[in-house]
């Protein structure tokens, strides 16, 4: 790279000389063909075409034209357009993000409302359940009390009847005993009066039937 530059610097001197020669030639002879030959010769002799100063004016002129055109087109058309596209996109992205944030907020609110409704419904349901349970309990208690009363009434009635039956059975047993006793006494040839028989039966029965 450095040696190339050195070479370039070296040939620059040659070029300048060549151009001077060429300029003299062009001035000296008006014939265009001669000038062209000299120019062509100078270009080849230079070695590095970059250092052929004869073409510098041409290059610089067209470069300036190109740069001005490019600058005008870019600064007037391209850059405002790209800037507006980029800012539009920025705006769209920001807007979308804000909308998303808003939706998120709404979703959160909806969730909170849902949770609240759910909790309300649950507590209400629990209240209803408790109330129903209390009502049922009351009905149940009433029914049980009624049933208990009925049961105790029936029990009393049954006990009365049992007592009655037992009493009548007692009486019947005495009767049978008296009759049997009277018959036994009669068959042994005795003569038993009712009172003695009754007393004897009563006496025996005291230990048996109680």
């Amino acid at each position: 790279m450095f040696s190339l530059l050195q070479e370039a610097a070296h040939t620059a001197v040659e070029t300048t000389e060549g151009v001077v020669v060429h300029d003299e030639a062009a001035h000296g002879a008006d014939a265009a063909t001669h000038g062209v030959d000299a120019a062509g010769h100078a270009a080849e002799a230079a070695g590095l075409p970059q250092l052929d100063i004869a073409t510098f004016g041409n290059q610089i002129f067209w470069l300036v034209v190109t740069l001005v055109v490019l600058y005008l087109v870019l600064s007037r058309i391209a850059l405002p357009r790209i800037a507006s596209v980029l800012s539009d996109r920025q705006g769209a992205v920001t807007g979308d993000l804000m909308a998303a944030e808003e939706f998120k907020q709404k979703a959160k609110e909806a969730e909170a409302a849902y949770d609240k409704a759910l909790a309300d419904a649950r507590s209400e349901a629990q209240a209803i359940v408790a109330q129903n349970r209390a009502e049922i309990q009351a009905e149940l208690d009433a029914a049980i009390a009624k049933a208990d009363a009925e049961i105790s009434a029936r029990t009393a009635e049954s006990e009365a009847r049992i007592r009655e039956i037992r009493a009548s059975a007692d009486e019947s047993a005495r009767e049978v005993a008296r009759d049997v006793t009277a018959q036994l006494v009669a068959s042994f040839g005795g003569n038993a009066d009712d009172a003695a028989v009754s007393a004897a039966v009563e006496d025996r029965m005291k230990g048996a039937v109680q």
């Binding site: 970059q50 004869a54 041409n58 290059q59 610089i60 470069l63 190109t66 740069l67 391209a78 596209v85």
Partner: protein, 249 residues
Amino acid sequence: MATEATGGGLEFHPMDQFIVKPLFGAGEVHWYTPTNVTLWLALTALAAIALLVLGTRGRAIVPNRAQSMAEMAYGLVYKMIEDISGKDGLRYFPYVLTLFMFVVFANLLGLLPMAFTVTSHIAVTGVLAMAVFLGVTAIGFIKNGTHFLDLFWVRSAPLAVRPILAVIEVISYFVRPLSLSIRLAGNMIAGHAVIKVFAGFAAIAAVAPVAIIAVVGMYAFEVLVAFVQAYVFTILTCVYLKDALHPSH
């Protein structure tokens, strides 16, 4: 070039691709003559316009490929100026983008076979660099007045060293356009000449495969160089712009 020796064997004319020729006929090259330089300058401008104007004509919120590339180029240069030169450098964004688009398309179009690389000419890169240099110097004086000279007077250094530093700073300041133009043109000349030399070797059957592989490799490398040099040119412009806008060290 009919006058060149054509007698068989190897012929290397790696520099012939840089010769400036009239487009029509073979007359003398006047300042107004349409030449191959004119053609490729025009193609460069058209390519840049095609990308940035035609590519974005959809104005789509969701961009297509061309619009994406245009926006990428826009964003690259915009961010470069914003980061390096600061917010106040954005006033000069259109010009810096013009420079970048011009250099990058000139470099890339120059890589097409049979193309003429306008950025390989000192005259072209010199004008670009001088425009940057003069423009930045003018901006420096207009924005900061004589405070712009603080750029050369390093206040953070000890007083005794400042004059020496000032000389160095002044020299380095005036070397800027030279380094800017020669860096770009030199890279382009060297790369294209090397490709041409390898291509010349391809005429010998024995080394042709190696030469062709070398051409392919060089070409790929030159695509990278084409972009990197445009990037470097633009980034240095931004650095110089920063010095002009904020001259104090």
